[in-house]
Amino acid sequence: MADHVVSPSLTLPRRTRTRRREAVQGYLCLVPVLLVLGFVVAWPLYEAVRMSLYDIYLLTGFLKETFIGLQNYVRFAQDPNAPTYLLNTLIYVVGGTASQFLVALTLALVLGRRIAFAAFWRGLAIIPWAMPITVTAMVWKWILNGQWGILNYVLVKVGILGEYVSWLSSPVWLWPSILMVNAWAGFPFMFINLLSGVQGIPRELYDAARIDGAGGAALFWRITLPLLRPVIATLLLLSVIIHLREFATLWVLTSGGPGIRSTTLSPLVYVTSFRYFRLGYGAAIGVILMGASLVFTVLYLRRVRFEA
């Protein structure tokens, strides 16, 4: 503010001037990123929240928007299918997070030990991460095919199954199948982070505990798990956020079907907005989804320490 009164460059001490120049340069470097994020994230975010208060039906034209307040939200609350959508979302978020975590933790514990070819196994285990989700779905749908799939063939031949199962359309097997493929596609990220956590635990701790007579289970519950807790908490929060918004995995596998049996909120927003062209209503459901994920985002941000 004082800048207007006295000419700054002449009166301020040199140190302050360089400081200020540094700040200006620093801000300038951020400008391109902020511009892009402003155009593709911030503006659309504002628009989305605004649209959720309007009735916008794409087929009647882009510009016909009628303000209806919170009616879109009321409509969702009164939708007889809403409990199903919410339950599906709960199943997917909890089941998806838990299954990925269990696979990742098991593998991290196994490969954290002294094991032959550990680096090779580790490399192999992360490859699903590089497979495009479309191809993942393609392969798994072929394996899980009700008539010609290899899984049915093997399970019936070995005697585990009495008859062929339509994995992705049977009410009993639908979610287990989705969660299994979802775990396959998504566990590598958690695995890598848990593995580096496990490897970061000093060996001396285990040695000392063993001398004191601790067995394998005690080592796990008393040393490994407590020391991994911060990493685990962060990973679980991230995973919940990712599962809440996940669309592609569900869409390529089942497209939310059969019927609406595997429709979570994210595919629901897509169907409402781009199949039925109810953009305002779709945005309202999306805002509800964002509200849910905001809770976990805040928890996540509170865990992350900035060293700026």
């Binding site: 659309p44 989700i133 990220f189």
Partner: protein, 289 residues
């Protein structure tokens, strides 16, 4: 010590059983991880008329490359494949170029509001894509970015930027400030010091971020699904899904899987070649505890 002896005898047996169990778990999980790759490969190598059988064989017999020939002659795969290269490369280059300036600023310059910027970037990463894409679609239609490569690259860039900035920042922070100060003393400008010292020293990180963004964009099907209409603009992640949904794809599943294998190849090859820096990235990216 007297009391410890029986324990250790039992301990040895337990340890051996534990070891066998460990390997059994490893083998089981690894079979589950690897099998889909092998099965895709195996299926893509058999004639399509041997596919739909009640007694499938483990290995293709006879082996044929017919499906690969089919995939590489199929315009609905080849054109989108080219588009995937265009959009992924474009996104990787633009995203890393913009991100490195911002990351350097966040790593080295002193000014107020840095924490807010980092928190905003982290928060942006968490937003549900599906909500934002509704207005993005409308905005794109208004400014003629709908169904263009530029529009796809812009959206993917925005989506990968927070990640790229945070990851590059952590790589820049690993370069000692003293080296940079030395360059400044030797007469380099701030920009010169960045371009000639910091950037080359974090080359591994730079490559890792490039590849990350490339692979992410390569596999993403949501942006093309909503922001691209024409086959000339669709990427392969989307066109393969569309083919899978059509009757043509459903009947020629071995051809479809051949296309899938070809489409997966670049991502997996990049990944295997650059595993070390990528692993570093997977670790550092989201988790700075």
């Amino acid at each position: 010590m007297e009391a410890a002896r029986p324990r250790s005898v039992g301990g040895r047996w337990w340890r051996r059983a534990g070891r066998a169990g460990t390997y059994a778990v490893l083998l089981g999980l690894m079979t589950w991880v690897v099998f889909p790759f092998l099965w895709a490969l195996s299926t893509s190598l058999r004639p399509v008329d041997t596919l739909f059988t009640l007694t499938p064989e483990w290995l293709p017999r006879p082996v044929t490359l017919e499906n690969y020939r089919w995939a590489l002659a199929e315009p609905h795969f080849v054109i989108p494949l080219r588009n995937s290269f265009l959009v992924s490369t474009g996104t990787a280059v633009v995203s890393v170029a913009l991100a490195s300036a911002a990351a350097y600023s966040l790593a080295r310059f002193r000014y107020r509001g840095k924490n807010a910027v980092v928190a905003a970037l982290l928060g942006t990463q968490m937003l549900p894509t599906m909500l934002l894409i509704i207005p993005i679609f409308l905005i794109y239609a208004r400014v003629d970015l709908y169904d263009t490569f530029a529009g796809l690259i812009l959206a993917s860039t925005a989506w990968t930027l927070p990640y790229a900035v945070l990851l590059l920042r952590s790589f820049f922070l690993d370069v000692p400030v003293s080296i940079e100060e030395q360059a400044l003393v030797d007469g380099c400008s701030r920009l010169g010091a960045f371009l000639r010292v910091t950037l080359p020293l974090s080359l591994a990180g730079l490559v890792a971020v490039l590849v990350f963004v490339f692979i992410w964009t390569w596999g993403d099907m949501l942006f093309p699904l909503i922001l691209a209409k024409n086959i000339d603009r669709q990427t392969a992640a989307l066109s393969l899904f569309n083919m899978m949904q059509s009757t043509r794809g459903a009947t020629n599943y071995s051809g479809l899987l051949a296309a899938g294998v070809l489409f997966t190849l670049p991502a997996v090859v990049l990944f295997v070649l650059l595993q070390r820096p990528l692993l570093e990235g997977l670790r550092a990216g989201a988790l700075k505890e």
